[in-house]
Symmetry: C3
Subunit: 349 residues, 3 copies
């Protein structure tokens, strides 16, 4: 953990310092919680007013910042990125991983382990599995038969990967996440009794993907369920069989994507969104929280609601809904006035 | 893995072949991804156009199929079921389970294991538990005190079953699923402080049920939470204490059912549906995705929305909502016209 | 397990007995399932009619109860609490925990274990961790580096707590729950490629908190994610980085709270509610099931809908929505009548 002055920190971040540059900085904190000796940042204008009252010794702000500040300012182009950099300087040392196989791990004799792999306590690696160089299976992880995991991966405790699934390089899987469980597929007879359709496909995860905790990704009925390169999946997300998630897409917590849907590259699905089966969400589309997608979505579209419609239209419709009581009153008023007019009209010829 | 011609395959599926019956089939694939040497199928008309362009050597279709095809056709009564059968012919061999107790498993001396049971690495079986013939506990499974599991069950890694719960025959529990966690029940004092109500009941799961990954089923406050025979539960579903799920019901991913509700037999709850507590969903009812059920539902009803109303009414109301801007315009127009008429009416007598 | 008469039970519960006080009571059951020899209760009027037909030997009711009963009545002030007390009297003995470290557990030599701690089979306790007196880690639990757990805690199988997180006294964590997974935070470059922002903070859980099964609580980006004292969290809930949950708040199943939001003390979020990031939900507010909170909420407010509005207004708006077809008809009728009037008006001067 570093110890440096506000001036030192500004220099390291490539920023311009303003105000008292002499205090020693010992850590980072949120703008509201920060204490003397800590650096905070403001990227979100929600917190702008807090800069005037913060106890932080310095605040990282955008170059054009023009609000009053209690603390020294460090002006940078991207406060968010600069703060991330600062946070890392003061971070406690990361957990040390010592390569090797823990004596309580059960690793099949024919599993292939790359250089400097770490297999922690009570990990199970089944026959035919391959683990790439420097990958870390922390503890209590399950790696199924013939699974392939790339290099520099990090699997947290209680991750499960079922047979034959393939994971790329630099993938992070958080605790309790399940890769390759059976897809939800049955035939139904005329008495409504279901028979399982074998789910013989796999899951393929690209490079640099990160999946949160307790996520579930089902294996394909046949062929593969795909998580592209650089995809980021938050906690408790459900990805059904034969879904394809395009490169660099983002699925926020508790999203569910039903079978055989394709999520284009760079799509963002906000929290708790549901996507029905057999749909295509075009590249770069954005779907607002809790929306339900029941039709395919064009590339770049912004959607909201259940069933989802274009965001601006959804907002307009919502505004009208809020005015429904007024409309009802106007309607009642009109009905009364028109009836009155009718009584005063001369009888029809 | 079999190797056979289109003609052979048609014969095995009891179908009628049309077109070039000579190519060797080596596997199955989706209609869009299929390559020469693979067989695809079309049950969903969404993919009908793909039959004209597929590279598959054969496509399994319904008897009455009348669209153009690039590939040989195999006509069958139920393409979905026939394809499932074909997929199985070409499936990689399933993971082999070798009966016996892995040396790293911790099995209580008084636990009763049936014939040919497989207890994999790092499984824990607590005192008083009983495991039926041929059941497989793959790895890292937890079976609590006095739990009873039937014959021919398959429990994937990181499944937990807490004390005294009972599981029927031929049940499949996917990774990370929790059976018998405490129900969410508290008394509240006048300061808003909650005290835990002991949850002393159990969970009972019928025969042929399948529960997906990371599902949670709470034990009853007293008595039992019930999952009926043949029930299929998808990933990340929550089933609260004292809920009863009728035989052959289907709960799609991320559904939540609150305490003491009864879901009738053959009910289908689509993805992300929520059901409030103490309700009854009648047999065979169907609830659309993301709906919120706040009142009991009649048998056979189709419901949608939050709060849910009959599906056809929900669709009608939704159509009117989409026309709200027009209604508002018509209303404004009427107000103007009526005011104009009023100025031209003779004064009241 | 006790055996006592209806009269004995009434006395133990401080209640007044009415009807046949002589039957032996052997257990508790729901009002509809109860058999002779069992005691049931009614707190919820939904079940009032069942008291007339129950087969229970006794029913616990409120002092003012005035409906017909088939069974003996035990009148008490709080039937719910009294029944909880009765249920406990007849509960099977709880699972016995024998303090000590199971030989298959992997406990770092420098971990500090309090008095009478139970470390079950295949638990992993990493270096620097501290476990308070009498706490129980049942089986297959993971406790990360430098984690601190208080006294009298109960951690069920497959719980994971990542490095440096802190858990108070008397905390219960159900199966599969993850504490301290990385927050979902990335910087994005101009090609839409995301880079992970280190999540170097922790999670702090207060005393007497209980978290259900397969819950996920992310560690703070920096600083801490906080779960207050006495907080009750149901299954499959997602709590993002830097969230603060106030004392005695209740989060029902499948709720999701996005990053940096503050949930005030005594707030109740019903099932499947979503809360956007950077919001404040005031103390004692109540949010109805499946609602989506997109703005901060005042203390004590009752909210409903997506986006959520005050509950009574949401109900009114919903009632108007249900009447939209009528409004549309009235509007069409008015348009016709006004057009008719216009044709009969004398031409404008």
């Amino acid at each position: 953990m570093a110890t440096l002055t506000v001036a030192d920190l500004a220099a390291r971040l490539g920023g311009v310092c303003e105000g008292d540059a002499t205090p020693i900085i010992r850590g980072v904190a949120g703008i509201r919680d920060a204490q003397p000796g800590e650096v905070a940042f403001v990227a979100n204008l929600r917190y702008a007013a807090d800069v005037a009252t913060t106890r932080a010794s310095a605040v990282i702000v955008a170059t054009a910042w023009d609000r009053p500040s209690q603390a020294a300012l460090i002006r940078v182009e991207n406060p968010d990125a600069a703060f991330a950099q600062a946070a890392l300087m003061f971070a406690p040392p990361p957990v040390e991983r010592i390569p090797g196989v823990h004596p309580t791990a059960v690793v099949a004799p024919d599993a292939v382990l790359g250089a400097d792999v770490t297999i922690g306590p009570q990990v199970v690696v089944e026959p035919g599995a391959r683990i790439g160089d420097r990958s870390v299976l922390t503890a209590q992880v399950y790696v199924g038969h013939d699974v392939s995991i790339g290099a520099d991966c990090l699997l947290y405790p209680h991750v499960s990967i079922r047979e034959r699934c393939r994971v790329g390089d630099r993938v992070i899987l958080h605790n309790g996440t399940v890769i390759g469980s059976d897809g939800f597929g049955y035939t139904v007879d005329d008495k409504g009794v279901r028979t399982k359709i074998p789910q013989i496909g796999i899951v393929v995860i690209g490079d640099d993907a990160e999946l949160g905790a307790n996520v579930t990704v089902d294996r394909a009925r046949f062929g593969k369920t795909v998580i592209g390169n650089g995809v980021k999946v938050d906690n408790l997300v459900q990805i059904a069989h034969n879904v394809v998630i395009g490169d660099h897409a983002v699925l926020v917590a508790q999203v569910g994507v039903a079978g055989s849907s394709t999520i284009g590259p760079h799509v963002v699905l906000a929290g708790q969104v549901g996507v029905s089966g057999h749909l295509e969400i075009g590249a770069g589309a954005i779907v607002g929280a809790q929306s339900g997608i029941s039709k395919s979505v064009a590339p770049g579209a912004m959607m909201f609601g259940t069933p989802a419609i274009p965001m601006d239209r959804a907002k307009r419709i919502h505004a009208y809904m809020m005015r429904l009581p007024d409309m009802k009153d106007q309607l009642a008023d009109l009905l009364r006035r028109v009836a009155e007019i009718e009584t005063r009209m001369p009888p029809k010829a």
